[in-house]
Amino acid sequence: MNRVRKLFTRLRAGHRCGLIAYVTCGDGPTVEIVHALEDAGADAIELGVPFSDPIADGPVIQMAAQRALKNGTNIGDVFAIADEVRTRSDIPLIAFSYLNPVLRYGVDRFADDAATAGIDSVLLTDLPTEAAAEVRPSFRKRGLGSIFLLAPTSSDARIAAVNRVSDDFIYYVSTTGVTGTRNELDPTLLTRLDEVRARVTKPLAVGFGISQHVHYELLRDHCDAIVVGSAIVRAVASGDAAGAPGRAAAVVKTILDRDAPAPLLSPAT
């Protein structure tokens, strides 16, 4: 059983809602940021592979990807980051990418190198279940889980399909939209989440827009984990590199409200 699946088993057993932290690899000192996020209470890390044309991302992650690409970050660097994290940590790692960089790298080669680097699961934003067979057998051979998304617009048939092929958990997109912090969660989210939850057997993580402690409070009894992305990425970018791990950690602490310091987030955009 890979680390991601073990995590969700543990979360369910402990009746706890976990926190998954997203970082764009190569934007700031990623390895130190990951360790700081773990120390602050993150249960798992999504390692974002920067892509030139991130159609599912809002401005915060778009700009992070642009900076990372300017720094010359490619998939090999993402594996190097995972490798280095693994020398000190056993935290579950989920690679988060668009399909094209993976295709170009070669699906089998990607699976080999990701598994060797200690990555546990892979989520490809623009790969729907219909095309799962293009990557999943290869990932599975190397013990990597394939994670698929559900959205507010997903039909019952699609919910069933995702529940079949998503390996370690299902990523539920909280609202119709791109990534980015939001002050208010979608007003229909909780009802919809309970509906979806009743139809699936896999653990459910909820992401997109989640950036405040109140969001965590609202969601914690309705899902297995929340995913925090843009709030962390923005904190990383809003100051010097040396302070980035501390700023990222503070976001996680504020959301979990563990000895939260003064408000750290600038008003959400």
């Binding site: 044309d53 809002g58 219909e130 095309a131 698929f148 959205a151 617009t153 699609r158 997109v173 119709t176």
Partner: protein, 405 residues
Amino acid sequence: MTRSETRPRAGSLPDRRGYFGEFGGRYVPETLMAALDEFEAAYRNLRRDRAFQSELDDVLRDFVGRPTALTEAKRFAEACGGMRLFLKREDLNHTGAHKINNAIGQALIAKRMGKQRIIAETGAGQHGVATATACALLGLDCVVYMGEVDMARQELNVFRMRLLGAEVVPVSSGSRTLKDAINEAIRDWVTNVRTTHYIIGSVLGPHPYPLVVRDFQSVIGREALGQLKKRTGAVPDVAVACVGGGSNAIGLFYEMLQHDSIRFIGVEAGGRGPALGQHAARFSGGALGVLHGTRSMVLQDEFGQIAETHSISAGLDYPSIGPEHAYLQQIGRIEYYDCSDDLALEAFHKLSELEGIIPALESSHALGWLLRNGASIGREKIVVVNLSGRGDKDVPQIAALEMTR
């Protein structure tokens, strides 16, 4: 296998999942899958719906101005080395390009689906103008995404869209051209998917777009075959079109593909030369990849990051190509070549001076190929070129260019 066995039967592709061989498909975030299913179902019904087809035919005739003329271009043909050359005059459509054939068709579908808000991307501005026009006609709200670079070089079309009541949103990310405008349109669609239909302007994007756009553009070739039959008693020997996403080319070629004797030439933007970033020649410079929801030939670097492109013509300045083109290239049914900025400019001037027709810079690429290669075709051969649009939109850009030369 004989030629006729490998030849795609008209209407047989894409398959049910939207693939043309290994190309095509549907690679989008989950949020959009329901909308694509809805669009596909609506289209499959309307494709056979008499009332819908006759409404479309009426609009194409009374508003767009179809059928468009077929013009024999004798003086330009001589400049190309001699042949019987016919121009399919899509430039004579209302709004000045073939783009309106698709924009009207999709806007009518959107209306039937009850979607009041339309979004579109545009490169040259022709698809944006066509979509804004269709929305004005049908009373739909219209938002057009356009890269800042393209807004500068196609300023006239920006004004036209605004006159037509559309909102034009400048896109400042990436290369600030067509690719980035599509990114932004997709982000809008993901956000407003329940109320909005996205009218893609070429045979690109996730299934069913390549199929729908091809069907709406195939009127070009259907008319041309009939007109050529009347004028020459024959089918053409060679058909030539420029290829951005590939909609005017598929539009001209599609109904002709059933004739084994016809040679098809697609002309891509050769830009300033063969280095990555200097052109938009996907077949000579690209690799298999996925961009904007479809698997096709994509200009990209060794890490799968999408490359920037260059073309003098905004409408050809795009790193991917319609999946059906990728398929037809792979099976050898269509030949693809590229035409440089300079050669396109030369053809732009030649056609203006010799025929009294100012062509769009995009269409000038098809003419440029003929200018350079026409001599090898043969004087007795019948050639048809898709004159996909008129050059009015390009006049300010050309004037500025030639002042600095």
